[in-house]
Subunit: 250 residues, 2 copies
Amino acid sequence: MLSEERYSMIINFLEDKKAVTVGELAEWLGTSESTVRRDLNALHDMGRLNKVHGGATAVEEKIKATEEDVQSKSLKNVEEKKLLARYAATLVNDDDVVYVDAGTTTLMFVDALSPNTRALFVTNGIVHAKKLIQKGLKAYIIGGQIKLSTEAVIGAEAINSLRKYNFTKCFMGTNGISVESGLTTPDLEEALVKKEACSHSYITYVLADHTKFKAVSAITFASLGRCCVITDKLTDNKFRDYTVIKEVEQ
Amino acid sequence: MLSEERYSMIINFLEDKKAVTVGELAEWLGTSESTVRRDLNALHDMGRLNKVHGGATAVEEKIKATEEDVQSKSLKNVEEKKLLARYAATLVNDDDVVYVDAGTTTLMFVDALSPNTRALFVTNGIVHAKKLIQKGLKAYIIGGQIKLSTEAVIGAEAINSLRKYNFTKCFMGTNGISVESGLTTPDLEEALVKKEACSHSYITYVLADHTKFKAVSAITFASLGRCCVITDKLTDNKFRDYTVIKEVEQ
DNA sequence: GAAAGAAAATGGTTGACAATGACAGAAAAT
DNA sequence: ATTTTCTGTCATTGTCAACCATTTTCTTTC
């Protein structure tokens, strides 16, 4: 295993559990405690986790949002995300008008789309727009300011652009899902765009792997009741009381 | 097997799995580790993957996308176009609101822009938008349908998006310049967007190398009198009777 | 078109370097 | 004081760039 992969797995583990011991990681990664310690030191130096006596804890979401660690973000939970993406892609019908939210999970959704669908796609992700047209699909991009880190279109003009559309389905990514706070994301501007998109869609699908559950970021963009969550593994059945959950098998 | 074949197989593999070891690739490709290492070095130099100890990881989508654009756009009259682009870039002031038309010449204009300018940029080119923000400039993209071949935003929604803006300067590409037909381009939809952009701009600059003169395409998007032409070599002085021409030296 | 030579690609080897796991003594927690 | 955890060290293993020999491909020459 590459050290980069271990880094991703550790960060990933921490996002889920918030704290972890050296022993746990050594066993889970199938490696020695020495290596785990070295990894934790490296990640600590990068500011990607807090090293504490006995193990490590996750860094605060707000700090992480500004750090914007693309490396580990795209590496982690790849298989799970692809699973969700493949299932979500089957939900698109020929007569749909689909909104695709910017983000790494929804990018895999675009990859998984059939090139033969005649559905109309609207997105606020530059990369997403590019991939859609390269697949030969009919794609629109909304206008507005572009955010550097995520290459998403945001701002007042973006929200204004969205008002014209009526989507049959929209596919959203999220940073956190919780019963109390609903769907949350760290960036205010992006949250506002997400909110507007959801409100113009007949059905909202949220693609969220299991690590997103019980996480809470700064801004809520939708309540649980208003959307259908697609996930790989539901750890707590109480979520079923508040929303429709599709657990994708295998 | 051709090395190019291996390259694309490696890139595909990485796009799927996000991380891979040298050993894995050697076995999968049925070749030696030496060759895999050489391939990884080559791909790393091209910026198409990240080489790490033990193997390689996928590069972020946004970086890769621009690389593709750069390598695909190897066209003619590059030096001349760069010359025009460099001059045009000096025309941008800090308080300008600039429209940048989609196209290869204007893309070089974006490359030539100073990263320090505080001007506001609006564009209908996806690649242009991307480059602008990667330079750290403030950039907006207009909304609308995306045309596959040129990756430009076009259509009714694009024109509608443009209505909101008032530009101090706009920089356009063109396919033909003639006294009788003015500025012409082969695609109707693109012409309509160009026309709308020009009509919302105080000054219109047209970037056109000498090959564009006396050429006429299907649709006229502006008359000669309404714009200032920047070119490398003016072969016929009669154009000076109809418009302002800037001939860039050297 | 064939032969000869040049250039490029490939696979294997080697010494240098990096990563790993185990251990011992120091430091910290209880 | 005892246990746990950390840091530094060291031997082992894994990986890498550079080099060389061989094969393949391209060019040149006749």
